[in-house]
């Protein structure tokens, strides 16, 4: 007797309309109440100088509390979210955001902690950071961790600045950073901000690093190679140890973009395969919520030789207490004020505590299995440009469908009608018309089967009714948005008519 199965993932439903706050506003409406002052009121003009006092905030909203909550609630119903279903977005690792994380991050002693409160009253917070540093060092096989960077891109910048500082201390910071053509856009953007020239290195025909090409181009001008492992095709860089040796022989460093750590946790450690420095994305691998685009955190883990350059302050334990050590002569400068996105760090540590060592490893196994399963199921229908074994994500191309005039972007839009968020479209750039799919370990077979069925159905639609796919989505409250008009004549704020 089989259990009931969902026939379709999504149906259409009632979707409220809603105006902008400014269109809802009415003079005198308010949603707040402040207590009475227990001290004398002060005349603003006297205290600040009349010229400094503003008349009123023209156009600012004036709504009641119920209008406010209805406004944001209605808006929220227009969003897809992990709480609704799978996001097959490659390289984003859209796994479940555990709610226990939200609870602990809001505990008063942590949420209201001021970064400048005396160390004696900050030990609890500092211990959380110490614990997370140690856990991340163990997971990555590295010697030291900084929790300061605000996001992956800032972690990348920190990492590259660390490389620069080390090389400078050895006499020559060098000029170039090597970046594979399959890399995420933040990699070259980061290298440029760090003052390095970018040299692209082409992937081999099997989609991995071409070590003979690497050997040819690594010279005394190369500071580092920035690599993602597994790479953006979801394929493990089988020559990574050799690549590290080539680089180290010439005094260059190996930087790893840790965006794809979800394929490695508990199975392989970057520190064991030659990586000198890497960043992690806590909002990917470690379950902190994306929240519509952030916040994230991008801790950086390094080998011993880079430790002296980590930005101040460093957490140090002495006399049974934790201290922030600012006396670090060789440190690169701060990349942000205070200590890092502590609230995000709390959530990541909660995730690690919940899973524990065995749990983290199991999550990796599940993540890879889910992705390989999807690959096997969809291979008959979509072109797989690189047949190497994939790990936590799989990249198809739209070649087969493109012959019938349908591109990856169209397929993605049609997937929305089936109740899913699209996969990553057109990235990595080395695949023509890429479909990049990463299910994560969160998804059960049921959800994945629904996804697979949806993709197969769309592949069939491309053959029988391509126009249906090209003009998708059909079931959403908003159709395709005119991005061309938005870019030609940008309207970036509301103005009263």
């Amino acid at each position: 007797m089989s259990a009931r199965k969902l026939e379709r993932k999504a149906n259409s439903h009632l979707s409220p309309n809603e105006l902008l706050l400014f269109e809802r506003s009415s003079p005198g409406k308010k949603a707040y109440q402040l207590p009475e002052l227990d001290v004398p009121a002060v005349d603003a003009g006297e205290a600040l100088g009349a010229a400094s006092v503003r008349a009123e905030i023209s156009g600012f909203p004036e709504v009641s509390e119920v209008e406010a909550i209805r406004h944001f609630t209605r808006l929220s119903t227009w969003n897809y979210a992990i709480d609704y279903g799978m996001y097959p977005l490659g390289s984003c690792t859209m796994k479940y955001n555990p709610r226990i994380n939200e609870l602990v991050a809001r505990l008063e002693g942590l949420a209201w902690a001021h970064p400048y409160q005396p160390e004696a009253l900050a030990q609890g917070c500092m211990e959380v950071m110490e614990h997370l540093e140690a856990a991340l060092a163990e997971i990555t096989g590295m010697d030291a961790v900084t929790l300061q960077p605000s996001a992956g891109a800032q972690g990348e910048l920190t990492g590259i600045l660390l490389v620069r500082a080390l090389l400078e201390s050895r006499g020559n910071p060098r000029q170039k950073i090597l970046i594979p053509d399959s890399a995420h856009g933040t990699n070259p953007a980061t290298a440029a901000i760090a003052g390095y020239a970018v040299e692209n290195i082409r992937s081999s025909e099997t989609g991995v690093l071409d070590v003979s090409a690497l050997e040819r181009i690594v010279d005394q001008d190369v500071a580092a190679l920035m690599v993602t492992n597994p790479n953006t095709l979801g394929v493990f860089e089988e020559n990574i140890i050799q690549a590290a040796e080539i680089l180290h022989a010439k005094g260059a460093m190996l930087y790893m973009d840790g965006a794809n750590m979800n394929a490695l946790v508990g199975v392989a450690r970057p520190g064991d395969f030659g990586v000198d420095v890497l960043h992690l994305n806590l909002h990917k691998t470690f379950s902190t919520p994306h929240g519509g685009g952030g916040p994230g955190a991008g801790p950086v883990a390094v080998k011993k030789h880079l430790e002296p350059f980590l930005p101040a302050p460093r957490l140090v334990r002495s006399g049974g207490r934790l201290h922030f050590d600012y006396r670090r002569e060789q440190a690169i400068g701060r990349v942000r004020a205070f200590y890092g996105n502590f609230g995000v760090l709390v959530r990541a540590l909660a995730y690690i505590l919940a899973h524990g060592g065995p749990g983290l490893r199991n999550a990796t196994l599940d993540a890879v299995m889910n992705a390989v399963y999807i690959r096997k199921k969809l291979e008959p229908y979509f072109d797989l440009p690189y047949p190497s074994p994939n790990m936590h994500e799989v990249v198809f191309s739209d070649d087969r469908q493109a012959k019938l005039g349908v591109r990856t972007g169209d397929l993605a839009k049609r997937l929305i009608d089936y109740g899913f968020h699209p996969y990553t479209v057109s990235f990595p750039l080395i695949v023509h018309g890429a479909l990049m799919i990463e299910p994560t370990e969160t998804e059960s077979k049921d959800e994945i089967d629904l996804f697979v069925e949806a993709m197969i159905s769309i592949a069939r639609e491309v053959e029988s009714d391509p126009q249906l796919v090209k003009s998708a989505p059909h079931s959403t409250r908003i159709g395709r948005v005119d991005e061309v008009a938005a870019a030609r004549k940008p309207v970036l704020k509301w103005t009263p008519e």
Binding site: S426, E483, V484, A487, R488
Partner: protein
């Protein structure tokens, strides 16, 4: 298809030489590859251009393409039409949606560029 009185580059620019004035634009092939054009970034009058170096860029929603100077010279005029209506570049790339006019250093160097027939062959081969 491609006007015979223009000379072309492999980076998909064209130039019309009239005496020592050169009018520069991008080809129909280029605008088609880019898709709907949303913005054009052009140099100021008086800027010195060098053959092969970037003089600005063209943007669609999802891509940016550098424009390279087919010949050297000094910018005399910038087509003001494109600031308000970049879509003209999709509609009339060889005519009304020219980008800039320059005073050419060496008009004769236009002969080093591709003829309409050669350009046609080149883009045919590219596909």
């Amino acid at each position: 298809m491609y006007p015979e009185n223009l000379r072309y580059t492999k980076e998909h620019e064209w130039v019309l030489v009239e005496g020592d004035t050169g009018t520069i634009g991008i080809t129909d092939h280029a605008q088609e590859e880019l898709g709907d054009i949303v913005y054009v970034d052009l140099p100021h009058v008086g800027t010195r251009l060098e053959t092969g170096k970037s003089l600005g860029s063209v943007e669609s929603v999802k891509a940016v393409s550098d424009i390279y100077a087919p010949l050297s010279g000094e910018v005399l005029e910038v087509n003001s039409l494109l600031a308000d209506a970049p879509e003209k570049l999709n509609q009339d790339p060889h005519g009304g949606a020219w980008l800039i006019k320059i005073r050419l250093d060496a008009p004769a160097e236009a002969l080093n560029l591709l003829s309409a027939a050669d350009y046609q062959t080149y883009i045919g081969a590219e596909k």
